[in-house]
Structures are given as C-alpha cells and as structure tokens.
C-alpha cells in the first residue's frame, strides 16, 4: 500500500515549482526615473512631498548604478 502514497517532499517540490514558474511572470514594475528632474513641474512635486522625493532619489541612484 505504501507505493501509492505521494511522498510529502515530492508534493512540496511540485508546489514550489509552481511558485518558481509564477515568479518569472512577476517583477518589480519598471519605473523610469532617469532625467525626470529636467521635466517641468516635477521638481516642485518632489519639493512638496518628502515621501515622493525619497523614493525618487533611491530609485534614481539604483537606475544610475544599473546603467
């Protein structure tokens, strides 16, 4: 009777594989922060809202490192 049982580890592995497949379909959104400082009005926006400025700065430096 043992033969028909699905091994717990095997079952878990399958489930993990599903997650791996799905994880390829998801990623962090592409945000193009490069050169936004040159856009009209954007500097005012960032000046008004510290949180937006903080995220823009972090993301710009990441983009610059990658580029």
């Amino acid at each position: 009777m043992q033969q028909n049982r699905i091994d717990d580890n095997e079952a878990k592995k399958d489930k993990n594989d599903d997650f791996v497949v799905l994880s390829h379909l998801f990623s962090l959104p592409e945000l193009h922060y490069i050169d936004i400082a040159s856009q009209q009005k954007i500097p005012q926006v960032l000046q008004r809202w510290p949180l937006l400025a903080e995220l823009a700065q972090i993301h710009s430096s990441v983009s610059a490192t990658e580029a």
Binding site: P29, L31, V45, L52, A56
Partner: protein, 238 residues
C-alpha cells in the same frame, strides 16, 4: 478572444466595479463578453442583478461535481458572467479547477471576443494563476501615496498596463502623483477613471455603471477604456 485580468494593486481600488462596467461597455460596443469572478468574496454577480442569497457559481458547481460551466449566468444577449459562488472557507479551500484548460476550451468555442477576470487581492496564489493565464493584465491604482510606495516594492505582472481609478482632479496630491507616473511609468494608460458617485452607486443599484447612469462621467470614462481595449488589446481572429 482576448483574456484580460483586472487586479487592484491593493484592496479597495474598485476593480470589481470596473470589471462589471467594462464588460457592459464592451457588450454595448457589440462585443461578446464573459466576466469571471475569481474572488471567493463573490461580489461581481451583485453588479449583474443576481439575488444575494443565490449560491450559484463556478466554484459551487465544480464542488458539486457538475462542472464549472453550470455556474454561468446570462446578463444580456452579448454579456455572460460566471459568479464565484457561495462557499464556506473550508469548502473553498478544497476547490481545484484547471482554468488554463477551461480557457482553452472557451477559446476553441469562438463564442466570446473578451473574457474579463476579476482577480482578488487577498488570495495571492489564485491571483497569480489567473494573471498568468491572461493575455493582458490591467493593474488598477489610486493616485495616492500607498499605491506609489507599492509600485516600488511589490512584484507585479510583467508587461501589465496601469490604470488610475477614482481620480480626483481637485486633489493637489493626486495631480502630483499622476504627473509623476505619467513621466516614470511607461505602461500607464493615457486616461484615468474619475472619482464619481455614479460608480459608487453601481453596486448599490446592482447594475454596471453604464447601464445605471449612462450620462455620468464614469460611464464616459469606461467607454474610453472599452475603446482603448478594442484598439490595443483585441486579438485578431485566427
């Protein structure tokens, strides 16, 4: 046939109301549409006048062994919908349904031009599966700080489109966030859905917004969205 998954970046973005409204608008434009509720909250059906106490739906039918298609409902000659169905938490956990296969079957029947999936936020595995089966994903955002932060930290479907819902032009913050997204988020749709009482009333009125309030701003916005879908997301018949 094009399959579009509609999914909020978080709860409360109005995804279900927009799904119902878009399904109705596409049918108004002559398209054959099926809207499918993937959320166990089972709310989409209420936009299509279904009695609250009816347990009917694809998950209920699947669990009863009669097959998911027996949960389907006809709203009008061009618009059908599949409610999730009313199940308890334990029952819901035991429902497994091969939607990839079901969608292939639906595709082969050539009945529908569009299938809209209302994808829940609170059920990550079912959401990921629904999105992976769709041809296109529309992520609904609100132009607020929380959506903005989530865009920086939350994995989202590759190649999805972003749609701002409940936009209030009188808000300085919303204007600013929209402006920033217009410059930084390449997949943002070139129009927004405006905050409008008509959309809020659509669930209470148990009708898609275009039918309940045809002259409303929301109704116009949704027609714009439906036309954008026709131009950009329609798959050519093979």
């Amino acid at each position: 046939m094009s399959v579009i998954a509609l999914h909020g970046i978080r709860g409360g973005t109005g995804t279900t109301s927009v799904t119902a409204a878009l399904a109705w608008a596409l049918s108004l434009l002559g398209e054959k549409v099926l809207a499918i509720d993937f959320s166990a909250a089972n709310l989409l059906r209420l936009h299509f006048a279904m009695p609250y106490d009816s347990p009917r739906g694809w998950a209920t039918a699947e669990r009863a062994g009669s097959g998911w298609e027996h949960g389907a409902m006809r709203y009008n000659s061009r618009l059908d919908f599949l409610p999730f169905g009313q199940l308890s938490g334990a029952e819901e956990g035991s429902v497994s349904c091969d939607w990839q296969n079901n969608l292939t079957k639906l595709r082969n029947t050539n009945v529908y031009d569009w299938i809209l999936l209302d994808v829940p936020v609170g059920e990550p595995l079912r959401a990921a599966q629904a999105i992976s089966m769709a041809d296109h994903a529309l992520i609904l955002l609100q132009a607020d700080s929380q959506s903005h932060v989530r865009l920086h930290q939350q994995p989202l479907p590759v190649n999805c489109h972003y749609l701002v819902n409940q936009f209030a032009p009188v808000s300085q913050l919303q204007q600013d966030i929209l402006l920033l997204w217009q410059q930084t988020l390449p997949q943002l749709l070139p129009f927004t859905l405006h905050r409008d009482e008509a959309m809020a009333e659509s669930l209470a009125g148990k009708q898609p917004v275009g039918e309940l309030h045809p002259q409303s701003k929301s109704s116009q916005d949704i027609i714009t969205l439906a036309n954008w879908c026709l131009i950009n997301l329609r798959s050519m018949p093979k």
